[in-house]
């Protein structure tokens, strides 16, 4: 029983990261019907930029740990957001009216480009975050859970909640939802779809970048290929929850994390990655619109 609860906790913790990244995929797909293959790489950039900024500015020493981390997070999210906007301009906007296959290839090309640029800048070896966070743990329900893990989970959930409120309650958020339902109608309503797209490519990557920073801070070790696996799992999570559906991405992420952890714990661990892909295919066959239903422009 204790193992079950522990594995559930493990699953939720990892799942919250998947969920953060999944939000980026789901928003872009909802509005543009495009799988942004490069999104996982933006997540990786978040982790690396965090490392560099941490090293260059030593904010935690200057401002104290909490404030320092906050400023760091804002900087990282901002930089990755800019990167996301550039990506949209360079790789996707010119292909807005082209057949979808072109956009897919371009997305792949962008992913390869970004990944290798990172490798050239930072080198091929693993990079390690400096050990600045306290490694204490608390006891909850008889389990020893590191405080950091709770913090990661808490931060992710908070960011997702903020996003949800933003999309549901603000005018800009409504514009995004409108564009996701029907781009042309939204345009007719006076919504500047180009701006909405830009916004989506700013918010999604910012969240992805934040996830990268969290991963770097918590696990300590980052590599330039980590975007690939996380990206695939996050995309699976987005589909699981219903592509284009923001709460769906959150639910999908957490659920996937838990399914993975339990599957790996009770079946063989070697098949762990296979579980995620299997879930993906199963969902697409049985219920392609996902658990909470998809929200995309132009249903066929």
């Amino acid at each position: 029983m204790e193992e079950l609860v522990q594995q559930l906790v493990n699953g939720l913790a990892v799942g919250s990261i998947y969920a953060l990244i999944a939000l980026g995929y789901t928003m872009v797909y909802g509005v543009l019907r495009l799988i942004n293959f490069a999104h996982g790489d933006l997540f990786t950039y978040g982790a690396y930029l965090g490392l560099t900024l941490l090293g260059s500015f030593a904010l935690q020493d200057r401002l104290g740990l909490a404030a320092g981390l906050l400023v760091l997070a804002v900087m990282v999210m901002g930089l990755v957001a800019v990167l996301g906007a550039l990506l949209e301009r360079a790789a996707y906007r010119p292909l807005r009216s082209s057949p979808r296959l072109s956009a897919v290839v371009s997305a792949l090309g962008a992913s390869i480009f970004l990944q290798n640029a990172l490798m050239l800048i930072y080198g091929a070896r693993y990079q390690v975050y400096p050990d600045i966070l306290p490694q204490t743990s608390v006891e909850i329900l008889g389990l020893e859970i590191p405080v950091l893990r709770l913090a990661v989970f808490g931060v992710s959930i908070t960011m997702m909640a903020v996003l949800f409120l933003f999309v549901q309650k603000t005018r800009v958020g409504t514009a995004i939802r409108a564009a996701a339902i029907d781009q042309d109608a939204a345009r007719l309503m006076g919504i500047d779809v180009n701006r909405v797209v830009l916004l989506v490519f700013v918010i999604g990557p910012a969240l992805g970048g934040a996830a990268g920073l969290l991963v770097g801070l918590y696990y300590g070790q980052i590599s330039f290929t980590m975007g690939w696996v996380y990206g695939m799992k996050a995309f699976t999570a987005a589909i699981l929850g219903g592509i284009g559906n923001i709460p769906g991405a959150m639910v999908g992420g957490l659920l996937l994390g838990v399914v993975e952890a339990l599957g790996a714990a009770y079946l063989s661990h070697s098949w762990k990655d296979g579980i995620a892909f299997f879930v993906l295919i199963l969902v697409l066959i049985v219920r392609p619109s996902g658990l909470l239903g998809e929200r995309v422009a132009e249903k066929v």
Binding site: E3, Q135, G220, A261, S268, H269, S270
Partner: protein, 375 residues
């Protein structure tokens, strides 16, 4: 018609850039190494070691009166690239090839060199099956996984463990080693309570650690690579789990301490051939100093030094046998090379091409993060 012409021109160009200049009068030794790719750091050390030794040899007059030329080909750490690199070397007139690192990569090149009658001395390929195929031209200066398995099993049993967990990462090397250890332990009727793999290149190993913890072992032997080992140590400490972990030789890398953090890594033990700074013969020390002088840092990987030893045995075979041809080198290595004073210890080869003797030692990480050789 433009396109067609273009294609034909491209093919024509390929045909035109044919042929390798046959430089006269040097003894050509090939080096196949992962200069690029996932093991680039190993490959580049291999290159440095061999080129330094070749230069030293040439300063002493070369081999049989001729200068030694080292021809380097990059195998990229990948079997397919390796087979192309091997093909390339066979066209360049080499009499022997040193290399390479990574059993699957070496395997892709074995048949090619054997069919071309070129002697191959591998430095970083420990899979047992490489010398079980009856290939007459294949040798290796590195030990085999079954030797490491024996040492590992001995270490585990010496630690008095009653419940043993074996963890690998499903890669060829790691699973092979884990299988070896498992077989020996089973034959000794030891209680192996856990045998499973983690997925490499991930970061969150809490699931597998929880699973391990539930199995209740009193020692865990991990046969994977250092990045995963570092993360395991770090996360195990976060969980507050104190059971000792022991690792295989793929853990031997200074980054281990960086990833795990000093506190998590302290006390961790692993097996490895001795690292270059611990080589104790006078010639080895002199060589390490010479390397340090030329490149500004000591050699960090033992596999690079093993490549160097590979070159030295080939050089010895050429001089001792009086001939720079593959059959002569081969004969010398199998019949006349006994207890050659290699940097890494005494070298002799058995009939299968394996190095005779025990190379594996136990290392422990101290509180400052240094690797200390255990007696």
């Amino acid at each position: 018609m433009n396109r067609m012409t273009r294609t034909l021109a491209a093919l024509g160009l390929a045909l035109a850039t044919v042929g390798s200049a046959r430089a006269a009068d040097t003894v050509k030794v090939g080096l196949m190494a992962p200069i690029t790719g996932p093991w680039a750091s190993e490959g580049q050390e291999m290159k440095r070691n061999v080129e330094l030794l070749a230069a030293e040899q040439n300063a002493k007059g070369g081999l049989l009166g001729k200068q030694v030329e080292v021809i380097v080909e990059d195998d990229g750490g990948d079997p397919r690239t390796a087979s192309l690199a091997a093909q390339r070397l066979t066209t360049k007139g080499v009499v022997a090839v040193i290399g390479t690192y990574g059993s699957a990569v070496t395997e892709a090149s074995q048949a090619i060199f054997d069919e071309a009658d070129i002697v191959q001395v591998a430095n970083g390929s420990t899979a047992v099956r490489l010398t079980e195929k009856g290939l007459k031209h294949f040798f290796r200066t590195c030990p085999r996984d079954d030797e490491q398995g024996r040492v590992a099993a001995a270490v585990i049993q010496k630690a008095g463990a009653k419940r043993i967990a074996l963890l690998h990462d499903n890669s060829a090397y790691s699973k092979g080693l884990a299988d070896e250890i498992h077989a020996i332990l089973k034959a000794a009727k030891a209680n192996v309570v856990f045998f499973d793999a983690l997925t490499p290149k991930e970061q969150d190993y809490s699931t597998i650690l929880t699973k391990l913890k539930t199995a209740g072992p009193d020692i865990v032997f991990f046969t994977g690579y250092y990045p995963e080992a570092g993360l395991l140590l770090k996360q195990k400490r976060q969980m507050g789990w104190k059971v000792p972990f022991v690792g295989g030789d793929a853990i031997n890398n200074p980054d281990l301490v960086k990833i795990a953090g000093k506190e998590a890594a302290a006390g961790f033990r692993f097996l490895s051939p001795p690292v270059p700074k611990d080589l104790d013969t006078p010639e080895a020390k002199a060589y390490v100093a010479a390397y340090q002088k030329k490149f500004g840092e000591a050699p960090s990987s033992i596999y690079g030094v093993l490549a160097g030893d590979g070159f030295r045995v080939v050089a010895k075979a050429i001089e001792g046998g009086g001939s720079a041809t593959a059959p002569a080198i081969r004969t010398y290595l199998t019949t006349q090379l006994k207890d050659f004073p290699g940097f890494t210890g005494k070298i002799s080869f058995n009939g299968k091409g394996d190095r005779v003797g025990e190379l594996y030692r136990v290392y422990q990480v101290d509180a400052a993060g240094g690797f200390v050789l255990q007696p």
